[in-house]
Symmetry: C2
Subunit: 345 residues, 2 copies
Amino acid sequence: MKEKVTIYDIAKALNITAATVSRALNNNPKISEATKTLVMETAKKMNYEQNRFALALKSGKSHNVGVIVPFINRNFFSSIIRGIEEELYPKGYHVIICQTHEDAKKEEETVQNLLNAQVDGILMSVSKTTQQVRHFKKILKSNTPLVFFDRIKEMDGVSTVTINDFQGGYMATKHLIDVGCTRIAHATVDLALPIYKHRFEGYKQALEDHDIAYNDDYLITTKSDIDAGEKAIKKLLKLKNAPDAIFSASDYAALGAIQQLNVLGIKVPDDFAVVGFSNEPFTQFMELSMSTVDQSPVEMGKTAARVFLEQMKEPNLKIMKKVELSPELIVRKSSSKLTANNKQI
Amino acid sequence: MKEKVTIYDIAKALNITAATVSRALNNNPKISEATKTLVMETAKKMNYEQNRFALALKSGKSHNVGVIVPFINRNFFSSIIRGIEEELYPKGYHVIICQTHEDAKKEEETVQNLLNAQVDGILMSVSKTTQQVRHFKKILKSNTPLVFFDRIKEMDGVSTVTINDFQGGYMATKHLIDVGCTRIAHATVDLALPIYKHRFEGYKQALEDHDIAYNDDYLITTKSDIDAGEKAIKKLLKLKNAPDAIFSASDYAALGAIQQLNVLGIKVPDDFAVVGFSNEPFTQFMELSMSTVDQSPVEMGKTAARVFLEQMKEPNLKIMKKVELSPELIVRKSSSKLTANNKQI
DNA sequence: TAGATTCGTGCAATCGATTACATAATTCAG
DNA sequence: CTGAATTATGTAATCGATTGCACGAATCTA
């Protein structure tokens, strides 16, 4: 139907060469103003659109960036992607989405695939099962900017955008202390992953700063789901000196905890306070809304995108930027209790 | 660093021409088996990867598909995208994500942009504010397959994947009737949009089939948020013959309704039953879990992708396929009541 | 006014893969 | 054993945009 208009068509129409048209469109200073405007105008008139492939083939730049996440239908990740898309789209970049399903092998394959597609950059959150860094090195070797967000792997030459998980853990724990809890448990997911390790360290530090001894029995490792949270509560309540609060590194486990506490007839927050982590949408919709730590994922996505753009501006310079965003404690009902010493927050 | 290997490199290594290499790699029957295997092997040995841009430039096919949704961080849409990605990725397609923010103008711009990027197809859910179909016609004119999912616009030459919203509305309403409700209200969002219109029609049909007169006072138009649901309940309860149940076309409005009923001390589900629509994740996490209609979004995404792939197989044939998926009623606490005539479902 | 600059364009190669057409090598029919 | 048919490969154009180099024309210098 509608044949694509090329610079040759414009050239023919104006009786000049394609080279001149190209230069005019690129605002090359060697072209006279007269020709420039003339070319611009006819280009517009003829509905000219630059062919991305020809450009990509010539320049090696695709104006695409690859984004790799474990799953895209997890609020945290889809919100990050939203942030990335909003930041990059106006700059003419397209965002290519890939999921790893937390599978290290699929991650490697995906990376290879995106490199082959010659994306201009890769923004990603590392899969839980990833051990190797070979594929990341390949990215760097191919001179493609690489930005990790949230789940990172410490590597030379890679920029990272994270939230301060230590601070998040600290805030959550301190808040529980502030509302009068003294026997605070912590549910973690996998201490081998930096994000969880840092939350745990924040938890420990908050205890220490408030002269509460760390109790190893109060540390429990769970999966990030409701079931795991239920089991964790059952286990914790069997202790002779059972806790009166829990800071869970996962909102889902926290939800399971609350549900189980309900079943057992234990009053939340009065007899047992709960704080989660991530600010999943459901946490605010629960009847007993859940206190949690917000990670501002949209902002994280935007930041990651901006870091990428900076890197693109300085193609020679190897920038390695580490941005750390601040988490925000969101106090809701599951931990809002009035005590002798504390006002409701 | 690592220079890209091209077919010319392979050709040089084997002392043949690039044409032969190309043909061998494409399994052209005119090439002898001997050369084929030889080429294949050296290609593998040299880590050859086909240059997508050269191919795209030559063929006009990008092996990219554009996906346009209002927002990507809405569970429904991100799940659809997940389905699309899972179906298309193994076939060598990359998925380019764009959001419209429900803005018709941004939608037009995005379409133009994707066309310019020469995507091989566009899968999309139409923005709420879209009136014009000019940009859709442009897609068709450029001979690019177009598939609408969920939010469609009736047009010639466009394939659609929807769920049977009528059936969903019918099932939800019939279920409420089955548990003994007789004065069933309906909260809709915008009857101008087919999805909501069909849900409403299903609602009406279910009433009619069970000899319940349709009452115009029970129809209420709300936005799709919690606030709107609260207001709707307030308004409905002011009626002299107040309803005893509501089928809301939005889970969010249904949530608002439940919260407001709680505030007013009205027992859910015994005194007032509630069914939502969409099966948003939060509906199952609420203490009083919400009955709702599931739209199997991942399946919808996969189906849309498959329809696209079929279209690609028959480039000459103009296929126009209309797939309708069945919704599934999910009964949870907000409508599970025991009545004289009904067993608990 | 001759020679040197500057300015604006054109020429042609390039990016990497595909493919119609040409050609060389082999096989086959009679 | 010769011409035709078949098979395997090479030649060169093409997709669309960019860009180093060349070149003619205009302007300037002394």
